[in-house]
Amino acid sequence: MTNHTVTRPGVYIAVWLILLALLALTVTAAYMPLGWAKTPVNLAISVTQASLVMLFSMHLRRAHPLVKIIAVIGFFGIAIMIVLTLFDVLTR
């Protein structure tokens, strides 16, 4: 929000269409014989969708640097929590 520029409605509609296309893609991927790669593919699509929502709908693209840091910290916290917990569980 440092330079208070307004995002055009067309951008939101384009993002919405891409999000719906990615939804169709992730459901299609679930039916394909991808083996172990299925969940990583699904999650990669989710991360892409979440990034689009955060950058455009939530205006993180033009947010104050401090706001960007806090947004990243939340997801970084989750990553630490899940990865380190799995290290423990999987190496017992």
């Binding site: 989710s46 929502v53 939340g74």
Partner: protein
């Protein structure tokens, strides 16, 4: 731009600083929400790596058509919310009230579809501790999946319900002319909360419904 009077509270230098402060505050709250759901996802991850076959079998019992539709509904509600915030930025009061109302309607649609889905789950004897029945192997582990399924979707549904309440409140405030292009922080902040609820669902959807499809 309306300058001066009531555009910002007295502890701020200007409207821009006030906007940044409220933005920072809501993102800090959203980060704690991310961590809150993160704990649930961590519990899910541990259980799933221990019982992969049971989780795959359980995931096939969930209703993908209903959940897929609901994902599209929520994504669309995120669009209408963004258009609402855009209307607030321009000071278009009627458009703002309109988009917020559509967003509330879509949020309610999500909850109704979710309720229909819970009913289907109940009829198929998938509700743990109530009527759970699974004929195949690893019935206890499949039940564990459904404990998580109901807990995660239930807590998410609660967030949707709270979001609907907030957006409805904002819509009433907007119809009473409470916002101007210089001050629409409640609209902005509520929008950010609603988008986050959407983002959380974007992860709930694949991990519960898409593990294994025939």
């Amino acid at each position: 731009m309306v300058e001066g009077v009531a555009a910002f509270a007295h502890q701020f230098d200007d409207a821009e600083q006030q906007r940044t402060a409220s933005n920072l505050g809501i993102w800090l709250f959203l980060a704690t929400e991310i961590l809150f759901f993160g704990v649930l996802f961590a519990a899910y991850a541990i259980t799933r790596v221990r019982f992969p076959e049971a989780f795959a079998a359980a995931s096939r019992l969930t209703s993908l058509p209903l959940a897929g539709t609901n994902t599209a509904v929520l994504l669309t509600s995120s669009l209408t919310m963004a258009l609402g915030v855009h209307a607030a930025e321009r000071g278009a009061r009627r458009a703002l009230v309109g988009w917020l109302s559509v967003t509330v309607a879509l949020g309610c649609t999500f909850l109704v579809i979710k309720a229909v889905e819970y009913r289907v789950d109940y009829l198929e004897h998938l509700v743990p501790a109530l009527n759970f029945r699974f004929p195949g192997p690893q019935a206890d582990q499949v039940e564990l999946f459904f404990y998580m399924y109901f807990f995660i979707t239930g807590v998410h549904g609660l967030h949707v319900l709270i979001g609907i309440g907030c957006i409805a409140t904002i819509a009433v405030m907007a119809s009473r002319n409470a916002f101007t292009p210089a001050y629409y922080t409640p609209v902005d902040v509520t929008g950010l909360y609603w988008h986050l609820v959407d983002i959380i669902w974007l992860f709930v959807f694949p991990v519960l419904y898409l593990i294994s499809r025939p």
